[in-house]
Symmetry: C2
Subunit: 193 residues, 2 copies
Amino acid sequence: MAEETPGRRRDAAATKAALLAAARELFTERGFERTTVRDIAARAGANQALLFRYFGSKDALFQQAMASKNLLAETPPEQLVAVVLARLFAPDAPTAEDNPLYAVLRSAAHERTASVVRDDLGEQYGQVLASLTDAEDADVRADLVIAWWLGIGLLRSVLGKEPLAGADPAATAALVLRAVATLLERTEQPPDA
Amino acid sequence: MAEETPGRRRDAAATKAALLAAARELFTERGFERTTVRDIAARAGANQALLFRYFGSKDALFQQAMASKNLLAETPPEQLVAVVLARLFAPDAPTAEDNPLYAVLRSAAHERTASVVRDDLGEQYGQVLASLTDAEDADVRADLVIAWWLGIGLLRSVLGKEPLAGADPAATAALVLRAVATLLERTEQPPDA
DNA sequence: GTCGGATGTAAGCGCTTGCTTACAATCCGG
DNA sequence: CCGGATTGTAAGCAAGCGCTTACATCCGAC
């Protein structure tokens, strides 16, 4: 992870990127509190003082590391629930690069990590989910779907609870989809489809 | 919380109980890691050295404090989902005595706290939930229900996400109940009812 | 009464944490 | 080729952590 290219000896941008990548990995693997700045610097192959020179604090590094892509832009709303479930039930390895969700689940509920859920997942995903139903309380229903995602990620990938962790991904996702359909149903046809 | 009765000056059993109560409160309020032994002793009005004399370690105290009642014994299976949801959406104050669930949600995912979910919630609640359906994968469906409980508790009470946190409890619980019904349905009538 | 064990207290040990400081090594424009 | 800014390093500080130790204090049996 993030070994330096030996051609360039001193490269601030490269070490900064290495620190950012190492931080992203460790935060998603262990959460905020169980990740130390010494761990991050070690994995990045850098001195920990540079971490503070480039990012100021562990908090600021966390925010920069977690400000990442989401898959909202590339997914049509109707498939969002299925796509997120597929991601949740992916082969294994939620350790890897993506999904700040796991950084939050593996952290205690700090304001810092809580805001990731509230703002990112909450506002963005919630809005799309709410658009899938014409119920009056669409936003509450959307929150319930997000809550289920969180709970499944927590129980399955963080806690490793059986039989859920070992269950057939497609079949399990289908169960969730069917139940979610009772939440996100439409009473009228959409105007253009 | 746990103020001593001034009549009795020295009472090992009383201070031990006070420590246990303070530990239960603080662990559910803040989780394992964010609760210090000094905090516990201070809230119990006791010296922290006594904590180690009576319980040996912070870990052992956590286990004793979390080994608590559950509401399984007093609830008929058919009402379990509704009762747990009612508890989840209770007025407020999940800080109080009960529900080690919040100790887990507020902790990082340590093996210590993870086992509470896997063993307590998992085995006990899972078994009852699975008995509510005659589907082949009843145990997976039960895990999905538990996952939803966890997610709702996390999003609503720990993270305080709106609009879920402020939504009407009864109406929201009804939404969940209806969706859960598609998971825990019976295809045949129970033999005696 | 007194003596010994039970109970409570103060102090601190060793370690880890996030973060800072003082300094060495390196690069690059002139 | 040299001097100043940039990049990297080692060491350590202050605070907080779980836990231990040495010691005062109380109480009940005899």
